[in-house]
């Protein structure tokens, strides 16, 4: 089993969610996060004083899946979350050693 994690622009979340659902993905977890990469932060002005804000708001999307689904999920996210501008985010895939469904106690791919 794999965990696909994508950090994307917040306004793209709705589009990505719909595309993943259309591709048959049953569930996902979303967190509001802040961070920075190559996209620089922004400046805010309060009473004439400028504040440099380094951490940019992003959405972290996590999808737990079987190994064979990874490529499809990654491609779907890549296609829908892309604007072509700096700050589109990243996708990374990690191994999920074991999965349980809490309600039933099912384990492994039955639990996804």
């Amino acid at each position: 089993m794999k965990m696909v994690t994508a950090v994307i622009k917040p306004f793209k979340l709705e589009e990505v969610k719909e595309a993943l659902r259309a591709a048959g993905i049953q569930g996902m977890t979303v967190t509001e996060v802040r961070g920075f990469g190559r996209q620089r932060g922004h400046t805010e002005v309060y009473r004439g004083a400028e504040y440099q804000v380094d951490f940019v708001p992003k959405v972290r999307l996590e999808v737990l899946c079987e190994e064979g689904q990874v490529q499809g999920i990654v491609e779907t996210i890549m296609k829908t979350a892309r604007t072509g501008k700096i700050g589109d985010g990243k996708i990374f895939v990690t191994a999920a050693e074991q999965v349980w469904r809490i309600r039933t106690g099912e384990a492994g791919k039955d639990a996804i």
């Binding site: 002005v45 309060y46 009473r47 004439g48 004083a49 504040y51 804000v53 106690g105 099912e106």
Partner: protein, 445 residues
Amino acid sequence: MPGINTGDTAWVLTASALVLFMTPGLALFYGGLVRQKNVLSTIMHSFFAMGLVSLVWLAAGYALGFGPDRLGGFIGWGRYFGLDKVAFDAPGPVVGGAPLSGATPHAAYMIFQLMFAVITPALISGAFAERMKFSGYAAFLALWSLLVYSPVAHWVWGGGWLFRRGVLDFAGGTVVHINAGTAALACAVYLGRRRGWPREIAPPHNVPMCVLGAGILWFGWFGFNGGSALGAGAVATSAFVATHFGAAAALLGWAIPERIKHGRVTTVGAVTGAVAGLVAITPASGYVRPWAAVAIGFAAGMICFFAVNLKFRFGFDDSLDVVGVHLVGGIVGAVLTGFFADRGINAAGDNGAIFGNWAQVLDQMKGVGATIAYSLAVSFLLLWIVDATIGIRASEEDEVTGLDLSQHSEAAYSAGDAGTAVGHGAPVPGGLAAGPGAPYAPAPR
């Protein structure tokens, strides 16, 4: 009741409640501007004054401000300690040819004045936000109210020396704003900078809270200025009208240079500009015509927009711009009152420089200078005394942790309901297991 007008009394009591409401408004205005870890301590700097200053006022504050004149107009002394002989059914003593309280009971005037005494030291708190020890704050609050606020109120309103010189301060430009703004400068300099200022201080944590607070201030200010007429007639109405147009013009007076300099009109800028206008119109309302209120407000908004940068120029950490808004806005208002005052609005006032009476501008400047000199000297002295006895600045650890947790054992916004009660109201052990549903049993892998 002889000498009491019921309409006037109704308005002064209503105005007193409006002015009281400004202090929690100020708490929200300031609270939104600080970082999340200090919002409660900042709110307490205002709200606590509603308790402490009120009792100080009852015991001695009113007596020092409005008792019989002593020391050549410097202070009141000899009556009204513990509010003794402050009548509910008769006007106050005659000061300068008219009863102190107009055609309202002496006690109505006393409670109206109390609300000013409460908000004035609360205004100062913007300068020491995010780093003052709570016990030191409480001691400074009580001492400052007695030894700075009451004497200056006596000078201007209680029949003191500025009153006799004909300084025009309708609702407290000198007594409240210049006085608080000067003490703010003393606090910012004495306490020193917050850790990380100016480079590593985070921006305001809740701008909508500031807007709500500023809105409440604007609303309450109608009582502050309108009520200062001590009656429900033409002067109160003109003060009310001038107050509104002063604030409105100042909002734009701030927004226009901000748009030019930074390319955007900001929310914090709009509310700060409005407050600067309310500050500046305070001494003038009740003496000026609406067009003059617009001129005063617009000037205050524009000048304060630039004045809030003084702290960076001179390196003092006036956290929430009390100097830039209240001291500078107060001076603008006090001086311009000397320009635009019009006896056609208020026969008890005087004509200003627009009628050729330049002496009024000079008188206004004397009032400003005296207030600044006295407030600066005594505020520094009181800070030094409090510092030497109980301490005034929070420790480094307390400051970094945040004053909400370190000074008050509270957090404004908890991350969910993760806390567990201890002591009274603690949950019964095993309470969850007794609830519905089957016990958890892990499935075999």
